[in-house]
């Protein structure tokens, strides 16, 4: 047993854990961070996009030495059918600014850098250590953790659970439920390496400019899902994710979907001739506001993916993790400065502070979206994309059919597929949930 007692133990070295450990260490707390990977980042998987604002709040001059890939100047959103895509693209030279807003990153590299900042701030970071359970006293109060190292009991006043989407410790201790299959998505991803010049040319980029493509439609075969293509300096992150419940229901394979996405005529030329260097898989919390578990208790708080803090509509997760980690740490530091104990009542300050932040406000805004999209996946992810693609083709193809007739056929195809009341209720559902 490690005799030393810590002010705080942080379990996990992802965005939430690093933000929490850094914030507490900077404010003089004695922090131990435990990570099961060989180094911080080696178990972490994300697309990945970094949002500068949330990192600036932790490390204002991060641009000086963080391993960033490209700053994003363009967002492409695609609706796909088998052979086409209809795109909504937004590109602006405004994003070529002194302090860009969004970057692509490679998590294993970025997290290693982030972890170095945590160490420099004075935290003890112990890798290759899996936490196996939370230590609780006879009153159920969390007093530390047990690890898989010999005599691995370690005590602390508070444990920050930044253990990721699976949240094994929290479910093991009975402080939250196992993620449900209709509340998490499984995403698979490949890293495709190409020369920098090839990526620049294929995506219309120069310098460190980057582009993001996000795609929905027939690629998810009627399941609630999305494909993504992110440009890094010398590689492309390409992947697709769908609800676990949908995989279970349909018997589709994740790698089958990935291959289908890669073979699509709009995607294949982008990765042609690439060398694949990694294949990864990860779960993404999709339940939104209604899936958020209890955020704190006697001697513990939970942050990031483990708390299901992910905005599926805007595809934001790492910034919610980072912000919740920072806020939890700030709350702990405040309690500590008053010499108060880390009780559930005192730690509820974290919940209060999080409620006042964009994290909970945004999730609350979209609280009904998951239900709409998850229960009508066939319509939103297959039927509409197909109808829409057909309409676009009819619109641009010049074949001598009078335009009025074309429009009539187009409208009829929508009504035939969804009926007037179906179209109306779909629009109403989305509008209501979006509000």
């Amino acid at each position: 047993m490690i005799e030393e007692k810590f002010d705080a133990i942080v379990v996990g070295a992802g965005m939430g854990g690093n933000a929490a450990a850094l914030t507490m260490a900077e404010r003089g707390l004695k922090v131990l961070q435990l990570e099961r990977g060989e180094y911080s980042g080696s178990k972490n998987v994300q697309g990945a996009i970094l949002y500068a604002d949330m990192l600036e709040k932790l490390i204002p001059d991060f641009r000086e030495d963080a391993p960033l890939e490209r700053h994003l100047v363009e967002q492409r959103f695609w609706i796909m059918d088998e052979r086409s895509h209809t795109g909504l693209h937004y590109r602006s030279d405004d994003f070529n600014e002194e302090k860009p807003n969004r970057y692509t990153i490679i998590r294993a590299q970025f997290d290693k850098w982030f972890s170095q900042k945590v160490r420099e701030a004075g935290a003890t970071v112990l890798c290759e250590t899996t936490v196996t359970e939370l230590l609780q006293d006879s009153h159920g109060r969390v007093v530390g953790v047990r690890t898989d190292r010999d005599g691995g009991e370690i005590h602390a006043d508070v444990v920050v659970l930044a253990e990721g989407v699976n949240g094994v410790l929290g479910t093991g201790a009975g402080i939250r439920e196992l993620p449900k299959s209709d509340k998490v998505a499984l995403a698979v991803k490949e890293m495709h390496f190409l020369s920098r010049e090839t990526i620049d040319a294929r995506f219309n980029l120069k310098g460190d400019e980057g582009v993001v493509i996000e795609a929905v439609g027939t690629i998810s075969r009627g399941m609630t899902g999305m494909g993504f293509i992110y440009s890094n300096k010398e590689c492309i992150s390409l992947g697709i994710g769908c609800l676990v419940a949908d995989f279970q229901r349909t018997g589709e394979t994740p790698y089958g979907l990935l291959e289908g996405f890669k073979r699509h005529p709009s995607v294949a030329p982008l990765i042609e001739g690439s060398e694949v260097k990694e294949y990864s898989a990860h779960l993404i919390p999709e339940g939104g506001y209604k899936a958020i578990p209890q955020l704190c208790g006697e001697g513990w708080v939970v942050v990031g993916d483990a708390a299901q803090l992910n905005n599926a509509i805007h595809r934001e997760g790492s910034n919610l993790a980072m912000t919740s980690g920072r806020i939890a740490a700030e709350a702990i530091c405040l309690i500590k400065s008053r010499n108060d104990p880390m009780t559930a009542k005192n730690l509820s300050l974290y919940k209060k502070m999080l409620n006042d932040s964009f994290v909970i406000k945004d999730l609350k805004k979209y609280k009904d979206m998951p239900a709409v999209l998850h229960t009508h996946s066939q319509n939103f992810f297959l039927t509409y994309p197909q109808l829409f693609s057909k309409a676009m083709q009819d619109y641009v193809r010049v074949d001598g059919t009078p335009k009025l007739e074309k429009e009539k056929l187009m409208l009829n195809s929508f009504i035939k597929a969804r009926s007037w009341s179906g179209l109306f209720s779909d629009a109403l559902r989305i509008a209501r949930a979006w509000r």
Binding site: E38, T130, L178, S181, V244, F247, Y279, H282, L283
Partner: protein, 98 residues
């Protein structure tokens, strides 16, 4: 060109680095005579194709190529079909990019 996607999973896993903890599988399937529908769904849903049907009709798991995503845990843990934990510290998949 299009070979069976299932054929390709092994090729995909070949890109990855692993440190296999021999003899200490972090996922265990509960012994059964007939596999449940949940267990059977893992033959398709596991992104690393760790689950396979043996000639006795039992579902088996081989964790060497596991990506530690947790999909099987979400589907099969609550019913007791499997026991799931993370590998020991330092073992398992070692992502270079993540």
């Amino acid at each position: 060109m299009p070979s069976e996607p299932s054929q390709r999973v092994e090729d995909k896993l070949f890109y990855n680095r692993y440190l296999v903890d021999s003899g200490r599988a972090h996922i265990k399937v509960r012994p059964h005579t007939t596999p449940s529908s949940r267990l059977l769904s893992m033959l398709k849903a596991c992104p690393a194709r760790c689950y396979e049907l043996n000639d006795k009709g039992h579902v088996e798991v081989t964790v060497d190529g596991c990506l530690e995503c947790g999909t099987c845990r979400v589907i099969c843990e609550e019913s007791g079909d499997i026991k799931w934990s993370y590998p020991r510290g330092g073992y398992g998949v070692l992502f270079k990019f993540g």
